[in-house]
């Protein structure tokens, strides 16, 4: 099997961009990634990409050049970007291609998402009575978790405060103004216990990555970042997932636990070896629960970790160093790729005032409906 390297990374800033389509954003990111990789568009042999609200991602082809390459459109909820990069990884690892593009972009309308119950395999009444909201699921999951493991609302706010602080240092972030505890706690309650500033918002953005085989990366002299392992898992029996009219009383593991375990096993390392992590923070509670689900701490330890600043830049394990979804917003097709982009920048030592000193192993985990999780571990070459 071939080792796989990330040789190029391009991002279009997240946020709101009047006058630009989602596709424009995706094309900009792709051009930047190709240039960053030191190759020409004609050198790209395969592509995987996704967009939730901006059409098929393969619409970048006429704008980049119709070279006849394979392009597979990917749709996997909030884990679309993570799924694209994993597809490119496996294609190169299998020896089929020497270079591949993973691209994701999106442009969502303002306000919360309003999915259709029937398209999600749920009865129509489930939406009619007001339960077809992802925000309710995230709120109910953290509400129970807080009850079971003694997590305070100040810790929820702490995650958001860190996100905006990191976002203020990140050129590609959307929300770049630091916020204090009172502002976060006293912002509009959306779904108890989560307030407005604890949630990410649908936004716009695009990211592209160029992956290459070891042979190609060496030829180009671009072996700074290796993709050490990746894993993708869907929900097991008895996991608490979004849009569930009923749950078994028996509580099981989550897709994130399975994906984390598999990725660490393949890499031959453990959570204690990770220097920087980007984990799914759809809202503050998700970051807290994912800290434990990914194996970085025990359930309940987050209270102390956050109070001591262990997840801040300069702490023991900096988490979501670019502000995560909370500060960058959520363009569905691009989010998982943004996490990997940020890890590439960290491992190259190009993160300026948000740089994690000495970062060698970088972890990313993206989670999406209806219950899937993708993990990638990068290593400094």
């Amino acid at each position: 099997m071939n080792d796989v390297y990330v040789i190029g990374a391009g991002i279009h800033p997240f946020g709101r961009h009047e006058g630009k389509t989602g596709l424009d954003i995706g094309v900009d990111a792709t051009k930047l990634a190709v240039k960053d990789g030191g190759i020409e568009w004609g050198d790209v042999e395969a592509a995987f990409g996704g967009s939730s609200a901006s059409g098929n991602a393969d619409a970048v082809l006429p704008r980049m050049g119709l070279t006849g390459i394979q392009f597979i459109n990917v749709a996997n909820g909030c884990a679309t970007g993570g799924s694209s990069v994993l597809s490119a990884y496996w294609a190169i690892k299998a020896g089929e291609f020497d270079t591949a593009l993973a691209v994701g972009f999106d442009k969502h309308p303002r306000g919360s998402f309003n999915p259709d119950p029937v398209k999600n395999g749920k009865p129509k009444w489930y939406g009619e009575i007001g339960m077809m909201l992802t925000t309710q699921f995230f709120a109910m999951k953290i509400q129970r978790y807080m009850h079971d493991h003694g997590i305070s609302k100040e810790s929820l706010a702490g995650v958001a405060i860190k996100a905006f602080e990191n976002g203020s240092r990140t050129p590609h972030a959307w929300r770049r103004t630091p916020m204090d505890m009172d502002t976060v706690l006293n912002s509009r309650m959306i779904s108890d216990p989560l307030t407005q500033y604890m949630f990410c918002s649908p936004s716009e953005g695009g990211v592209a990555l160029i992956l290459a085989s070891e042979k190609k990366a060496r030829e180009l002299g671009r072996t700074q970042v290796k993709l050490r392992s990746a894993a993708f898992k869907t929900r097991p029996e008895n996991s608490f997932e979004v849009f569930s009219p009923s749950l078994s009383v028996e509580r099981g593991e989550t897709p994130t636990m399975l994906a984390a375990r598999a990725a660490f096993e393949k890499a031959g390392i453990g959570p204690e070896d990770i220097d920087v992590a980007q984990i799914q923070d759809t809202e503050s509670g998700a970051e807290i629960m994912h800290m434990a689900e990914n194996g970085f701490c025990q359930d309940g330890d987050q209270e102390q970790w956050i109070a001591e600043g262990r997840t801040a830049i300069g702490g023991q394990l900096p988490i979501n160093t670019d502000g995560g979804c909370i500060a960058c917003g959520e363009p569905i097709g691009a989010s998982g790729l943004r996490q990997i982009y940020e890890n590439v920048i960290q491992l190259r030592g190009q993160a300026e005032n948000r740089q994690v000193e000495g970062a060698r192993l970088a972890y990313s985990q993206v989670y999406g409906a209806p219950g899937l999780s993708a993990v990638a571990i990068l290593e400094k070459g």
């Binding site: 009619e128 309710q136 108890d192 009923s246 749950l247």
Partner: protein, 136 residues
């Protein structure tokens, strides 16, 4: 709402209808319809249970899919939660009454409620209400 979601019981309560998988024994709600129906035995869940978790829908859900009144001036926030009914399953539903007095662990009972829709009609659904005299 489909008639096969709940049936009336004594004291104004309702019994929610679920399905027990004939092979695995696992209980699911709602009772599967169509090609899956034959794999499930129709069962009526107990009317009383305990609240496992909840939230409050503070902002108006979008229409579609929500049919309730959702204009910013008239919208009434409501609680939603999972109530354990019996030993095997928890059911997600709206919670009647003051959303600010809801707590994990409260004794709850299944009821039917009607709420006004945005087009001036009414929609009836199952829901949960704090059991008589219950605080937690």
């Amino acid at each position: 709402m489909n008639d096969d979601i709940f049936v009336s019981a004594e004291d104004g309560k309702v019994r929610i209808i679920a399905g027990r998988n004939r092979t695995t024994g696992k209980v699911v709600f709602p009772m599967p319809q169509g090609v899956l129906e034959g794999d499930y035995e129709r069962i009526e869940l107990p009317s009383e249970g305990t609240l496992w978790t909840y939230t409050v829908q503070r902002i108006p859900p979008k229409n579609p899919p929500f049919v309730g009144v959702n204009s910013p001036d008239e919208y009434q926030p409501f609680a939603v939660g999972y109530v354990q009914l019996g030993d095997e399953v928890m059911i997600e539903g709206r919670i009647e009454g003051d959303p600010d007095s809801v707590e994990i662990g409260m004794a709850m009972e299944s009821v039917a409620i009607s709420f006004p829709t945005g087009d001036g009609a009414e929609m009836t659904t199952y829901a949960f209400a704090p059991a008589n005299g219950s605080k937690s």
